[in-house]
């Protein structure tokens, strides 16, 4: 049975309905795999085995007799430990967060997953408070990249990315304020979607930056991201930033074709910055060629303030984060990890006028991007400057001055998906980012899915995951 474990949500949904495997069997097998990799990869902050197996038993009974709850029914998932869950504490991977914060009902997105029959295996490690870089001195667990254990899986949704690459879950939730879903997706060779701001409720999530935070799906494939988004998307009266907008059937949009899709390539900044690794650029250029040969219409596009968007995003993110954390920085600054504290305290340096100017620039960037995309369907860029960084020798302060290809889309609020776009000569995944118009996640997912029909990058698995196969 375990030799043929499904590796995607779509495969699991089919296997469960064909009775080739039960949800209980699948849950036990993935829990075993997760525990086998916990010492090396360390993706889980906590396991919720008891409630997971109970949910799996319910799913098996319902799959036999009804009701049908859709493709997540009986499928094992994981939750970034910054989202509240009723069956486990929430830590935000920090010693600072008040333990009583998480003593509550599920976050809205988690509740929706459970209502769809999903099986939650546990809470996944993150970079403390979804910012910074792991500080071993805090004693908090940090995840390692299954493709190379000496490297980071990226952050801040590090555990979700690592658990997926390790095959310990079939899908999960991450959060993204400047690239925290798409970075780990890029570095771990998986798929991750930051949906449009307002598409997914943030209720029950520890905030980092109120106007930039997004919750989104992470999975092996774009199709699986579509299946997860279908469940978690929609208006939530508990989150005033969500919008009353129809949620389309995302799976219906996945027709396997990019024929006629109009792709914009913003070469300035996203391709010509000297910090962009040559292999990463070559892989993304190749992916664009592949999409063009498959029938997409590709042309260059200009985004005049792309570089400046990074500045606005940092001022807004750090200013809002500092506002949230100021009281704890007064009372217990040393309880934070050093790298977290070094990031957040920068927010103290910005004036109120800086914040408003950043929001003005945000308006300009948003208008420019929408104008540039008026006759386009998506933009395609690299997700990251390079492959995953090694822990040893990494300077977290370097982030302050490096270009970012992801944070601009938090500023504009547009949907952005990262899928695996190839591998470096060292065997490390390269991320391909697909950006859509507001609330057009369907086209973004269509392009990602079609690309995954053209390539097999997303099917590759790291040795650390293969070695963790249950006996």
């Amino acid at each position: 049975m375990t030799d043929e474990l499904p590796s995607t949500i779509a495969e699991a949904a089919e296997a469960l309905r064909a009775r080739r495997i039960s949800s209980v069997e699948l849950t036990r097998a993935l829990l075993e795999r997760a525990r086998a990799t916990q010492d090396s990869i360390g993706a889980f902050q906590a396991f919720t085995e008891e409630t997971a197996l109970t949910a799996a038993q319910v799913a098996d009974a319902e799959l036999a007799k009804g009701p049908e709850r859709g493709p997540l029914q009986g499928v094992p998932l994981g939750i970034k430990d910054i989202l509240a869950t009723s069956d486990a504490p929430t830590t935000a991977s920090s010693k600072v967060l008040d333990p009583t914060w998480g003593q509550r009902a599920d976050a809205t997105s988690v509740r929706k997953l459970r209502e769809a029959g999903a099986v939650i295996l546990g809470k996944l490690v993150l970079h403390e408070y979804a910012i910074g870089w792991p500080d071993p001195d805090t004693g908090m667990r940090f995840a390692r990249n299954p493709w190379d254990l000496a490297r980071s899986p990226g952050g801040s949704s590090s555990g979700t990315g690592a658990a997926l690459a390790a095959g310990a879950i079939l899908g999960g939730l991450g959060t993204d304020t400047g690239g925290s879903i798409r970075g780990p997706a890029s570095f771990c060779g998986i798929s991750g979607l930051k949906a449009t701001f307002g598409r997914v409720s943030k209720e029950g999530c520890v905030p980092l930056s109120y106007s930039l935070d997004h919750i989104g799906p992470m999975a092996r494939t774009a199709r699986d991201c579509a299946l997860l988004l279908q469940v978690i998307a929609g208006f939530d009266p508990l989150d005033p930033t969500t919008v009353r907008r129809e949620v389309p059937n995302y799976a219906d949009a996945l027709n396997g074709s990019v024929r006629g899709v109009r792709i914009g390539v913003p070469r300035a900044y996203f391709f010509d910055t000297p910090e962009l690794n040559a292999e990463t650029r070559a892989a993304v250029e190749k992916a664009i060629d592949d999409l063009g040969r498959a029938g997409a219409v590709v042309r260059e596009v200009s985004l005049p303030h792309a570089a400046e968007a990074r500045i606005a995003q940092r001022v807004i993110m750090l200013g809002e984060a500092y506002a949230y954390h100021q009281a704890n920085l007064q009372m217990q600054p040393i309880a934070y990890g050093k790298n977290t504290r070094r990031q957040i305290t920068q927010g103290a340096l910005f004036s109120a006028a800086d914040y408003v100017q950043a929001q003005r620039l945000r308006s300009i960037v948003k208008t420019e991007v929408l104008t540039a995309m008026a006759d386009l369907d998506v933009l395609v860029t690299p997700t990251s400057l390079a492959v995953a960084s090694a822990f040893e020798g990494y300077d977290p302060d370097s982030m302050r001055r490096l270009p970012s290809f992801t944070s601009i889309w938090n500023l504009t609020g547009q949907p952005a998906l990262s899928v695996c776009g190839g591998f470096s000569s060292q065997g490390l995944p390269v991320g391909l980012q697909i950006v859509g118009k507001p609330f057009d996640e369907a086209t973004v997912l269509r392009v990602g899915d079609a690309y995954q029909q053209l390539t097999d990058w997303h099917t590759r698995r790291p040795a650390a995951a293969r070695e963790a196969q249950p006996a």
Binding site: S211, E308, R341, A348, Q359, L361, I364, K366
Partner: protein
């Protein structure tokens, strides 16, 4: 960064941290904030570009 700008950045950062009650940061981190502050006017110059001065900020709050 010259001595004068470092000195004024030091005064500013100490004042900000005192105002905010954030007093117990490690010294190396305070020094880092001073270095960042000294470069801030240059780093944030794009936020003061003429085009930005006429834009509406993206913070308009709906009344209902």
């Amino acid at each position: 960064m010259n001595e004068s700008s470092t000195a004024s950045a030091q005064v500013a950062v100490q004042a900000i941290l005192a105002r905010d009650g954030v007093q117990d940061l490690p010294q190396d981190e305070v020094e880092r904030l001073i270095a960042i502050y000294a470069d801030l006017a240059t780093d944030l110059a794009p936020l003061r570009a003429p085009a930005v001065a006429t834009a509406e900020p993206a913070v308009i709050f709906p009344a209902e």
